[in-house]
Symmetry: C2
Subunit: 118 residues, 2 copies
């Protein structure tokens, strides 16, 4: 089963509520980039509230998703990052310096709106 991507106005919303295995993560990456292209979305909120832990491969995929979305013109906000997930991202030196984060989906959407709509 693929991770659903919801389109709301100019934004794409994703809530990851499964354990991300390698295959699912790669499919998600493909689906998201293709949706950004098709929808012309300007912003993406990826909610990780239900993700307890990630391994190095998933962390890398997530980092790549953010960078690639950015290249395609869509700003990504990650929300609901749990402590263990934050630690993995940091330990692996994933380049998340420029990644916007927020507490939850709502806050992420507000942040994107502020940033993109002035």
């Amino acid at each position: 089963m693929r991770i659903p991507i919801l389109k709301l106005q100019n934004y794409l919303l994703i809530s990851i509520q499964v354990d991300l295995d390698d295959q699912t993560a790669i499919e998600f990456q493909e689906d998201l980039l293709s949706q950004i292209y098709k929808s012309g979305a300007k912003g993406v909120v990826i909610d990780l509230t239900s993700v307890d832990i990630i391994d190095s491969f998933i962390a890398k995929v997530l980092g790549d998703v953010v960078t690639m979305s950015d290249l395609m013109g869509a700003k990504v906000v990650l929300t609901g990052i749990q402590p263990a997930v934050a630690m993995t991202l940091l330990e692996l030196g994933i380049h998340m310096q420029e990644v916007q984060t927020a507490l939850n989906l709502e806050q992420g959407l507000i942040k994107l709106r502020q940033e993109l709509e002035g």
Copy 2:
């Protein structure tokens, strides 16, 4: 994999992007009712854009979800109903007379807001 339920303000958003088998449909019903209870959501948008066809069991479950959510105080809007899905719902006599519908997720959310916020 369970169908993710996204919380946005007072609303729950669901986009069904898989073929609904019986087990998934039942789990979705349980998850949604439990989320309505936990979150105190006042409205629910269920987007069926990616659902091409449904059988009688799924149609019944969907009808029940709408009725039960209503009993729990959350108004449901179904969006993106395709012709074949509409026909199944009608043929089975599912009581959808009072179900709000809309074209897509955005329109569904607008409809809920108008109805619930005046």
